[in-house]
């Protein structure tokens, strides 16, 4: 009986491990992003633009993960929008799994940023990392085009969270 017992435990642990693991990567077009940006829910959306090849983005990612965890029972939603190419989807998935990323991850499947950047934020030059925080219900909006420090992000979330 014992080996079966061990096997079962291992199986359950593996399952639990998978459950706690990274979200799947959601491949989206710009209209999905625009829908989110126009959402009228009383939620603070923290939308971070990053890519697997972007060093500063990876450096600040744990801070976004921390916000996601800390406010998981509050109307605060972190979405990490990857600028990686769609052909690198597997690379993004592996990245998320290896780092056990629990925040929502989207991959924006648009090749020509010139067609959508200004619709989202005219002040954005296109450099990443960039982050927008908004709560349309409360008419709150904040945009930043740089790598955030942990306390900067914490303070922004504290300032805007409903």
């Amino acid at each position: 009986m014992k080996p079966i017992h061990i096997l079962c435990t291992a199986f359950i642990l593996t399952l639990a491990g998978f459950a706690a693991q990274a979200q799947d990567v959601n491949v989206v077009k710009f209209d999905k992003l625009q829908q989110l940006r126009n959402s009228d829910s009383d939620t603070l959306y923290v939308v971070n633009f990053w890519a697997t090849w972007c060093g500063p983005c990876i450096k600040e990612m744990p801070y976004f993960e921390a916000v996601n965890k800390q406010y998981q029972n509050q109307p605060v939603r972190v979405i990490l929008v990857s600028m990686d190419a769609k052909k690198d989807l597997e690379k993004v998935k592996t990245f998320m799994q290896r780092r056990n990323i629990a925040s929502d991850v989207w991959l924006l499947d648009e090749t020509d940023a010139n067609t959508w950047i200004d619709k989202l934020e005219p002040k954005w030059s296109g450099a990443i990392p960039a982050t927008i925080l908004f709560n349309n219900k409360r008419e709150q909006y904040y945009f930043v085009e740089k790598e955030l420090k942990q306390d900067e992000l914490q303070n922004l979330v504290l300032k805007f969270k409903p």
Binding site: F49, A51, W53, C54, P56, M83, A85, K87, T111, D112, A113, N114, T115, I117, D118, W124, S125, G126, A127, I128, P129, E145, K146, E147
Partner: protein
Amino acid sequence: MKKPILPLTYTFCLLLVGVLLAATPANPGYQVGDTATDFKLKNVDGKMVSMADYKDAKGFIVTFTCNTCPYSVAYEDRIIALHNKYAPKGYPVIAINPNSVTVSPRDSYADMQRRAKDKKFPFAYLQDKTQDITKAYGATRTPHLYIVQKQKDGKLKVAYIGTIDDNSHEPAQVQKKYAEAALDELVANKTVSQPNTKAIGCTIKWREA
């Protein structure tokens, strides 16, 4: 009674200037139509390069780019192609590496020399060590293009700011060649119809204060 007025006016004036200066945002760099500054930066061959050195040029494709950003690397061949196509028409590429070597060690001068040699860059590849030129232009990402056109009075007018084309990942699937369209118009002495474009790129690695 009259005496204190001048110092008072003077103080007021100083205050006003102070307030105005404080209210002015940090230099956002050039907009299309502005006059660009020339520079004197070190090329990978050890020589100092200025736009003034190119007597016959009609303008320049000033390209802020680097060794380390995957987008810059993805565009290297296309930057070479731009130079090969437009230098004979009077618009050579001048590439400028804006990154701080402290923050991004693989953008060192030696690494730039190596990259230029490996890729056989047909254009100047300069290092903006102080980042003053990068700031003056207002470049924020790599690659970031500023196409300037020489005017009759010798001034360098910014005619285009933006990206090379509409597909960084897949050169074969490019549909809109933004920079080439602008250059074709400039070569034909026309006004650039789409003088501003954007693309995703890497942040410039600024020196830590």
